[in-house]
């Protein structure tokens, strides 16, 4: 590799932004850099790094076929908060349902973030708008929701009578205590207890 090509290679490597041939030439005492650029393009063609021209500016970049190696996604498991679980359950039992309805059923206001979490988890979707004044957004569960919870359909969710038989409608002190401690407020930020919708 000749010295000019080496210099062009080093200059582009160290550059903080893509460079035009004029900029390169100015750096390299007016040398004719184009042949060196073409030699480098060929040199790098089969490598993990390519030399490319974009709108008259030259830059190195990693080979597109390796992008998957350089962008990694790490999944972090995290438990759904109590508030989000309740909202999810209400949507599942009552869908399609508006936010105001959810709040009426829960007896507390629902923080914006709570629904966002469920949308992000892919368990809840926006199912349109209700045809009433204000046209509120209504929410429903997704196919992912069913598969995550091992349900063939929403009809597989236990009914009120079954819940009672299973003791799930007995008062749970813990639930009240958690509310009293403001656990939801911690998790959801601006959540206010005892909303006006009760």
């Amino acid at each position: 590799m000749d010295d000019l090509t080496r210099a062009v290679e080093a200059a582009l490597f160290a550059a903080e932004a893509p460079m035009t041939t004029d900029q390169l030439a100015a750096l390299l005492n007016g040398a004719a850099v184009l042949p060196a650029l073409h030699a480098l393009v060929d040199d790098y063609a089969e490598r993990g790094v390519h030399l490319v021209e974009r709108g008259g500016r030259w830059q190195f970049q990693t080979a597109p076929d390796l992008a998957h190696l350089l962008r990694r996604t790490r999944e972090q498991p995290r438990r759904l908060s109590r508030a989000a679980t309740e909202v999810l359950a209400i949507i599942a039992y009552h869908e399609p349902v508006s936010r105001a309805q959810i709040e009426a059923i829960r007896g507390v206001q629902t923080a914006k973030g709570t629904l966002d979490v469920l949308l992000e988890a892919g368990w809840v979707r926006v199912a349109g708008r209700r045809d009433v004044p204000g046209r509120p957004v209504i929410y429903a569960t997704t196919a992912d929701f069913l598969s995550h919870f091992g349900l063939a359909s929403r009809r597989d969710l236990p009914g009120i009578d079954e819940l009672r038989a299973a003791g799930l409608l007995d008062p749970v002190d813990e639930a009240f205590e958690a509310l009293a401690r403001g656990e939801e407020a911690d998790e959801q930020g601006a959540l206010e207890k005892g909303g006006e919708s009760a």
Binding site: A14, A92, F149, L151
Partner: protein, 255 residues
């Protein structure tokens, strides 16, 4: 001079010192600089000549500037070293001046070694000055995504809790037999009127028969009587006494 090899005349006497004291970091630094002017291996340096140079320099500078104390301390020590070195060997004091001279020489060698090392280090091809890392790295992106977790039981039981929480609830308050404060007050003050002796608080409670055998009612009577006793004491109508902590409480009429 019994060691002529070591204490040979300075090699570079010609170097006139027109130096600012600010240029040195302390006396050892100045000594090393003077030693380097001898242009010989530090292991063969003449300590005596070095001492002379240092003393001459300090003398000259003293006219011009306020010399820092550590330069003067070093000068005094070197003057002592010089006189000790010039003594005939059998008269040399303890510690051996040649040992002191050797130690000084070793220190100068070590400082010199580090000064050279620093110079060689700084002269290397340095990143950001001589060699350059990638100017605009694309970066290795690590996207963090949350995988939300919730199980069937959590889902269903939280729905149950919502139902429980929002279902209308009727609260029933059962009536409980109590002794009111008013009746305790009447009772205790009436009984205090009977005697001037100390009486234990429990003696003011109704006898154990009929409804007064009921433990919850007795507890209520005891509590009300206690509050009544406190009230009477406050009004200056009774006196309270308790001999030990948690011991029986006695009261009597205040005449």
């Amino acid at each position: 001079m019994n060691e002529p090899d070591l204490f040979s005349p300075p090699a570079a006497e010609a170097d006139k010192l027109h130096l600012e004291l600010d240029g040195w970091e302390g006396p050892l630094d100045l000594l090393l600089d003077l030693a380097r002017r001898q242009k010989v291996d530090l292991r063969q340096i003449s300590i005596l000549a070095l001492v002379d140079q240092y003393l001459a320099f300090i003398e000259a500078e003293r006219m011009r500037l306020e010399l820092a104390a550590d330069y003067l301390v070093m000068a005094a020590w070197l003057a002592y070293l010089k006189s000790a070195l010039l003594l005939p060997r059998e008269e040399q004091p303890d510690p051996d001046p040649e040992e002191l001279a050797l130690r000084l020489q070793l220190r100068l060698q070590r400082l010199n070694a580090m000064r050279d090392a620093a110079a060689r280090l700084m002269a290397r091809d340095r990143l950001g000055r001589d060699v350059f890392a990638r100017g605009a790295p694309e970066g290795l992106r690590l996207d963090r995504r949350t995988r939300w977790q919730c199980d069937w039981f959590g889902l269903v039981s939280s729905y149950g809790q919502v139902q429980v929480r929002t279902r209308p609830v009727v609260h029933m308050v059962r009536e409980r037999p109590v002794m009111t404060l008013d009746s305790a007050l009447d009772r205790v003050s009436a009984m205090l009127g009977i005697t001037l002796d100390w009486m234990e608080l429990r003696e003011f409670l109704p006898a154990r028969d009929g409804e007064w055998t009921e433990p919850r009612l007795r507890r209520s009577a005891l509590a009300s009587s206690f509050v009544a006793a406190l009230e009477l004491a406050k009004q200056g109508r009774a006196q309270l006494r308790q001999d030990v902590t948690f011991g029986p409480l006695h009261l009597r009429r205040l005449a």
